[in-house]
Symmetry: C2
Subunit: 243 residues, 2 copies
DNA sequence: TGCCGTTGCGCACACTGTACGCATAAGCTG
DNA sequence: CAGCTTATGCGTACAGTGTGCGCAACGGCA
């Protein structure tokens, strides 16, 4: 597939004219796409369905969006916009601020589990305005905390990678859960025998099954698990900072 | 071997040749799917293309695989099987072993960048035999290191989450890079103006551009970045262990 | 020999992304 | 006002998708 000669093929770089919006704007399309994804999942997002959800023809969308991939890029940046990072205040409290930021990212992923299945495919998302703004804020935070220039980026990336990794795993679970149409309790119970079977010769895994016994609140369980890893990562960064 | 030479049999009417080859097994299908994904990317995996790649009809695959989703689950578990975790030897060297395991996971993702776009969608992958075996080994490792039962799972999950997060980001980059058809140098150079434009009002991001200046080896750069976060995570786990 | 379960496959259906071209509407110039 | 340019919506069409269904050929068994 030879590359065309126009400069760059990403949403953020394509020149965009500014005209008044006549009944179908890009923002409107992206917003409805997010809604559709939230309600019906990632498989339900097709140009036709999105079109009819907007009372528009399927191909009308192409006047505002180059193609489906571009729409996906826009959608990803859109939900990134929901993430809030505390304004840089007291450098000594960088850890608390980073924790809040990380939790905000995770909360976004849990609100929109479908992003997890898009993040691995959509590159260049970091060029989106919301992603840019977010990164800037967080970089500020780590630099103010005392990480030297190049290391601040590494520290930030480490935290983000952890959060995205947890989010990926959680989103996968929530997605199959939603597709099953059952409650988390029911689904876990339903899965129980298969897990027992699969872990027959793996004694250590047995304890993992405790996760599925339904006595504990699974949501709280996930929260604590997330917090544990985040705290370890921040511990590691902190001792690095104190050298 | 009795040959029936009765009527005028032409090549086209002759019944299919006998079973000189193992026909079509699930392992064979999964193996070819991985090959196809490696070579042509995640968008190229369709039942029809996979069928023709196996000299088989498209729907023949359904005798060995329930549906496309199941194939994806099998494929994910298959590549998990490439990951090698060192046998638990000296508990004091848990850190080195965990590092090797983490690097093995990352290497797998870099070999098969398409997994990143599947991990967020395919839940239940942890029921696959290879994933089970891998988890068991790693759990062993962390328990031997001294993490109490339930915490070993949290520690392992934290490390895995970090690795998957890094892999997701790297895979996204490599995928768009491959789709661009250019070398990493060329593509970075090509992207340069767009990045400059996007980061105009974000001074801290400027330094990120150093990543794209092409003077440093980007692969080595990624390796070091990965190693930095991994070391911080392991630092955090280590001090927790020594408490 | 006849039968039966397994396997491969052709066909069909509903659905996808999107290129193309036409019809309309909104703005500007005169 | 007319006339023109440009932006927008949409109908049609094409190639490609996952997969349910039913037929045909085979291996192994009674």
């Amino acid at each position: 597939m030879p590359v065309d000669e126009q400069p760059i093929q990403s949403v953020w770089t394509r020149p965009r004219r500014k005209r008044d919006q006549p009944a179908l704007s890009q923002a409107q399309i992206v917003g409805e796409a997010v809604r559709l994804l939230d309600v019906e999942g990632v498989d339900a997002l097709s140009m036709r369905r999105l079109g009819t959800a907007l009372n528009a023809g399927a191909t009308s969308l192409y006047r505002h969006v180059a193609n489906r991939d571009e729409l996906v890029e826009l959608v990803v940046d859109e939900v990134y916009g929901e993430i809030s990072v505390p304004e840089n205040s007291d450098p000594a409290k960088w850890r608390a601020a980073a924790t809040v930021g990380a939790q905000s990212v995770r909360a976004m992923i849990l609100r929109h589990p479908w992003v997890a299945s898009l993040l691995g495919a959509v590159g260049l998302s970091y060029l989106g305005p919301n992603v840019m703004r977010l990164n800037e804020r967080m970089l500020n935070l780590f630099e103010a905390a005392g990480f030297p220039g190049d290391e601040a980026d590494q520290a930030l990336s480490a935290v983000i990678a952890y959060v995205v990794g947890v989010g990926t795993s959680e989103a996968a679970w929530l997605t199959t859960l939603a597709k099953s149409g059952r409650s988390e309790q029911e689904w876990s119970e339903h899965l129980r025998p298969a897990i027992e079977e699969a872990s027959r010769e793996y004694p250590h895994q047995r304890e993992r099954i405790a996760q599925f016994d339904g006595t504990a609140d699974p949501e709280q369980f996930r929260d604590e698990k997330f917090r544990y890893g985040l705290d370890r990562m921040l511990d590691g960064l902190e001792i690095r900072l104190k050298r």
